[in-house]
Symmetry: C2
Subunit: 394 residues, 2 copies
Amino acid sequence: MWHCQAVTARILASSGAPVRQSSVRAHNLALVLRTVANSGNPVSRAATATATGLTRATVSALVDDLIAGGLLSETEPAPRTGAGRPAAGLTLAAGGPAALGLEINVDYLAACVVDLRGTVRHRVVEHADQRPAGAATALAGLARLARDVLAATAPLPVAGAALAVPGLVSANGLVRVAPNLGWHDVDAAALLRDELGLPVTVDNEANLAALSELRAAGTPDFVYVSGEIGIGAGIVLGGALYRGVRGWSGEIGHIPVHPDGPPCRCGARGCLEQYAGQEAILRAAGVRALDQLNPAAAPALDAAGSALGVALAGVVNLLDLDTVVLGGAYGPLLPWLRAGIETELRRRVLTADLAPITLRAAALGSDAAMRGAADSVLRAVQADPAGYLARVPV
Amino acid sequence: MWHCQAVTARILASSGAPVRQSSVRAHNLALVLRTVANSGNPVSRAATATATGLTRATVSALVDDLIAGGLLSETEPAPRTGAGRPAAGLTLAAGGPAALGLEINVDYLAACVVDLRGTVRHRVVEHADQRPAGAATALAGLARLARDVLAATAPLPVAGAALAVPGLVSANGLVRVAPNLGWHDVDAAALLRDELGLPVTVDNEANLAALSELRAAGTPDFVYVSGEIGIGAGIVLGGALYRGVRGWSGEIGHIPVHPDGPPCRCGARGCLEQYAGQEAILRAAGVRALDQLNPAAAPALDAAGSALGVALAGVVNLLDLDTVVLGGAYGPLLPWLRAGIETELRRRVLTADLAPITLRAAALGSDAAMRGAADSVLRAVQADPAGYLARVPV
């Protein structure tokens, strides 16, 4: 009904719930931090007070706490020649709490450290088939990679880690099923927490990649399709990730394309993955690597594009989305996939004549899921700086 | 952040926007009306004040306006033997503003009047193929039906009308495309408005039916599938209709089931409608009417169920919904469709082993779209009683 900015105890009390002063402070710390983060340029304490609706004295006390906790830094202003005292500028601290972004996919492990300002400080990707050795070995390998990137960025403090996996993840972080990894009920969060001594959350890789795309590109409604050996989707509606009733949305790889087609690892037949998953394309092309310079792969990529187009036509008919973002391995292959996809969309989307559908490659390329994982940690710090400050000695 | 109940000018002012006393009154009129509507039983002025957080004096002034405008009525309390003065009870007025619910589908026209309490006062359904004569004739026929039900319920005041159509409707009420009716860019709202002298809104029939199902059954997340000659869907997520970017979501009838299958009226091939639309089932069964007592139709219904199951497996894999509601002609046919649908869902939904999917018939049967249309008018009155009162002489 109306958007609030600053919260005072008086207004919080209008909800009828009891109000603690600490919850007012927590809310306003987050408000100040978000205001500085969103300003782009260094912003003065006075401007922060104006933007938040808080008094200058309140803002200054909150800013002092955020500086002491390492979340904000205050730059000296450049000398001004005109009249008036130039203001010092607040920014997110470059040395503030960073995030460890992790990804396990079928044929690679990846880790990166992203600082509070969103800059990638270090990243490592290690290509190897993760299926034969099983979950424990894959997670141990990932922990080793994580320690390497943490060592490379020391002494930068790290607020926590998040892991992207190609599978169904429960709200408590348990990986229920990752069909292409062969995982069932793997408590990846607990294993990594023990190895790294950091809080760890786990989410589906396409969901995290879609969130990073939302942050990078800002389009409020789109389906993000992550093409690896498996195919997943992240659905963003009205600027927010749509997770589904149990958090298991986006299994676009198992949309039936030809219901009587070849058997899929999931137990069904003719799923999209059997036509447009990386291994399916390689089988069809008779080549060892998907490389846009390998002309032998072109007909196989065209067929994969058609299968993607059939599945996406169903998605667009159902959800009336106007933007499809292709990520993972699909990003660089888009020039070879585009004609097949667009032909089917034009043919099969009921509204294709009425409104265009934009098809584009993911802004962050194949790092999207790992970056989305790191982003989720940074967003949690920004949403609750009081919680972060309570955990670290000031 | 917090839920407000009553609004005072002081709190509205915290938004920074200028506040007019009239907007406070409009908000609080709606709040009082909603409180009475949701109470189920007659509710006293004092209880309404407690529930809304408004003062008794304010509530009484608002209630007097709502009674004068014909929206509320106040019953005399039954004599009490104990101490204290028993309170009079407020209810929605049975003679208050009613709604005209209208539906045009491929093979029938329907109209009903639903009173402010949600009781259907009169309904008429007229079966006839609406395709040959075109939009103007169909709308003229519907206007005649509408005048009949209005005459049958006179002198009940009618706040407005809403029309359900099997097609893509723009935000301004223009029917862009209704493939199975052969309509393109039909301004149904304007034509009916002129004929009836009432405000008229237009929406997709599956959307309106899904909203009536939401009201009747209360499940917050489901896909409603309306099976007529065409097949549409209404997608309800988190208790609200998901409309899509342009308002054209739910075209489940054009999800590809067998991409190389028979041609569809939409121009594509192998759409769900070609396997599970009413005419497709009749063709396959070699019978003239879909009747659960006609044993010749059973294999055709089983095949239709399988096609529905294939399409719905894609929907559930994508959206992670746990409830599918079958409406329109599908409701009474569900016993013959169920096995085919459930077999495919079990085989093709990646999470089928982890969580059950409920498949059930629509609560309101084949009236769902027409009732949903009437509901939309009543909801608009309840959301803005001040707007209604301003239009009618008190």
